[in-house]
Symmetry: C2
Subunit: 452 residues, 2 copies
């Protein structure tokens, strides 16, 4: 067993080898290195260097490495390759990976590559996969699926699996179909191995299985596979014909991507950027969200300016502006993140919309009372302000908690309804809105209670 | 094939059946319902109702359902069960699930249950697993693993797999060991099925595999399995002896849990709460973080109060307090979330610490110039303030962007170094700190430039 560790030294040696066009050295260096590690190395090289290495590798290995490259590298490397090379490598891939790579080319290039694919079965599979939306079951499924006819016996099935298995990377389940390819159930490899050789598949079939339709959203597929602990799930078309399968390692990527997306939305970073991107890319991804906050702040300045008269009479009001704004923002984020989480894991027994609002409202009243009371005590007894001023700040805080909680609950629900990722409700946009509402409420309460 | 849909009606019928103690009705109703769905139903029932249903089910089914119950239900249900029942069900579980259930009991109860376990092998496996930390490879691995000796031939191996497979839920890889149980590599079931019957395992072994040590953190295991697209990974002890295996469906839960944890940390919710929890539970989970914000706000009031003289001379300064505070918070969250993300997916080619700081600094200068310039223009030309005041607000904003970016970069790195989840750096704590620093910088710049 070999444990290989990527290092900067290894990378530098590799680059030296490429510079000297020392093919033998490169191949020896990469011998036995894991596909994902080779891809990680290529991600660090220039596109010309990467292409040089890819061309040295065996066809299957080159195809495997290509799949593992990150998207930035792919968009640099793919345009530098010959159509015939891409066509050859793509035929060595699973259909879903092939379709993913092809989708990165322009329509014209894609057609050129497809015209060079000789394997007719693979070609049909890839063309079918290219039709599905990227984020659906169809978009992430592979066409390679082990299928057994319900009338076969175990020996026939094992022979068929031997034949089919050449095209299938990993064996999870074997799906059972009738003569029309309609999905009937599954048999586990374990059951086939344990059964006597003349057993008919129909007698060991597990009919109680879960399948997903081609158009199901990938997030829903992920939730389903997590809930039911599935290692693979069959994909069926509208007529219940078995068209593909999704395996749990594809889903692992979906779960991680969706989580990253949510976190980026909450943090207010628009594009999918990494720390290794250039300064301008990072800056560009951050500026729009910061500008929203700044514009909100400038509007806040107008609101405060509107109450300047009152402020000049009661200067201490200015001191508690950050308190009110920050609490509004924090309450809003908490409320919205809870809603976002519950939207992601729906259950048949969820509370109704009215129950949710009522509950959020009660939590807000409770928290508002505690926080408002606490602030009143500190302002009056610790900071020594008159009680009426303490009441003003306390009441304002209470109102802001209620309002922010309401906004934090409603916004993600509305966003979800109109098909936008509700996680952005926990980001700078809602924080800014809550800040402004909070300011208006604060000074409104002050005008009323302090007679300004 | 059966598609079962959970519904409130079904739940109500089930509850009626339980009330009438109609065992036949309940068993008929639950016949063919998926384990995860039965568990979801029990999660909605009272603990007495749940226990009544569990006792009706077959031993294996009851064990499977028990594993799938959510933790709130488990903590209600487990104390109501007999020690002998738990012991019986636990023996029908995989060792990792059995250890998970046992870890929910007090030490005394645990020993009582263990003393009733008859299966000696299972007992040893469970006791071993209970020794490992919950969040490590050892804590999430299962002891049930298919192993083949390197000297066996394919027929011997298939016979052994048939024997061992009874205890293994799903077959992924078969691990190859020597006589001392040291891990040498793996053979895929596919290779065994495709090989001729007299082939020796050593000849079809894949030695280039990845294993993880028992003490590796589960997040690291998840990252490794994602990177290398592994469907299962063998776990070895310090002497490279094969002690267990982790499968990708366990990792799916790890990835989802870690993501939820990060999002909750960012949103400032301390405990793992769900929308279905009680009002007091939700309120209690939220209040501590809100209090941090409120205390920060009260400290902010002191800072502003300190500059009250200047503020009375230049009242407009108050108007731009929210702008400065909000921008500081937003910049801090953006910077820290990028660091958190890069900490979660380390690579050998990461920038050094100094390179990171330099890069973050340059991005901050760029963004600070754009935002400061923009605000200067609006304040002077749109809002009609004198240029010196515009310069003050612009410069203060620039300084706040730099400072917040620095804090947002440093805080998660420090937290990570001392073993705390760095995601809390994007939460209320850092936002509050940045607010305070921002206020100090803002008024400091104002005092200097406006001669207050």
């Amino acid at each position: 067993m070999k444990q290989f560790e990527l290092s900067k030294e290894f990378l530098e040696n590799l680059q030296l080898g490429i510079e000297q066009e020392n093919a033998a050295f490169i191949l020896t260096a990469l011998d036995g290195v894991n596909v994902a590690d080779i891809a990680a190395l290529l991600d660090e090289l220039s596109s010309l260097e990467s292409i040089y290495v890819l061309r040295l590798l065996e066809r299957q290995l080159a195809a495997d490495v290509l799949i593992e490259l990150n998207e930035t590298t792919l968009t640099k490397v793919l345009p530098g390759l010959e159509t015939s090379e891409v066509a050859s490598w793509i035929q060595a891939m699973d259909s879903d990976d092939a379709a993913d790579i092809l989708s990165l080319f322009s329509e014209k290039e894609r057609e050129e590559i497809i015209s060079e694919i000789e394997d007719r079965v693979k070609l049909e599979q890839i063309v079918e996969l290219l039709r599905y939306e990227e984020d659906t079951a169809g978009g992430i499924m592979a066409k390679e699926v082990l299928r057994a006819n319900k009338n076969w016996n175990v020996v026939q099935t094992i022979n068929e699996i031997r034949r089919q298995a050449e095209n299938v990377e990993k064996i999870y389940s074997i799906y059972v179909v009738n003569n029309k390819q309609h999905l009937l159930g599954r048999v586990s490899l374990k059951k086939i191995i344990l059964a006597s050789s003349d057993t008919i598949i129909e007698d060991i079939i597990d009919e109680n299985i879960i399948s997903v339709p081609v158009h199901m959203d990938q997030e829903e597929v992920a939730a389903l596979m997590r809930k039911y602990d599935l290692e693979s799930v069959p994909v069926v078309n509208a007529k219940n014909k078995l068209v593909g399968r999704i395996t749990v390692d594809d889903i692992l990527d979906v779960v991680q991507e969706e989580a990253d997306e949510d976190i980026q939305a909450m943090a207010g970073v628009s594009a999918d950027i990494e720390e290794s991107d250039s300064i301008f890319t990072i800056s560009k991804a951050r500026l729009p969200w910061l500008l929203i906050g700044v514009i909100g702040g400038l509007m806040g300045a107008k609101i405060i300016g509107f109450f300047e008269d009152g402020l000049s009479k009661y200067l201490a009001l200015a001191s508690f502006i950050p308190l009110v704004a920050a609490t509004g923002g924090n309450v809003g984020i908490q409320a919205s993140s809870l809603i976002v989480q519950s939207l992601a894991s729906k259950s048949a027994f969820d509370d109704t919309l009215i129950q949710r609002f009522l509950k959020g409202f009660l939590v807000a009243i409770l928290n508002g009372l505690v926080l408002g009371g606490f602030v009143f005590l500190v302002v009056v007894f610790l900071y020594g302000f008159e009680s009426l001023f303490g009441i003003t700040v306390g009441v304002a805080l209470f109102c802001v908690v209620l309002l922010s909680s309401f906004m934090g609950t409603v916004t993600p629900l509305v966003l979800h309804r109109i098909g936008v990722n509700p996680a952005i409700a926990s980001g700078p946009f809602i924080t800014t809105t809550n800040d402004l509402l909070g300011l208006a409420v604060y000074f409104g309460v002050a005008v009323l209670l302090l007679n300004l």
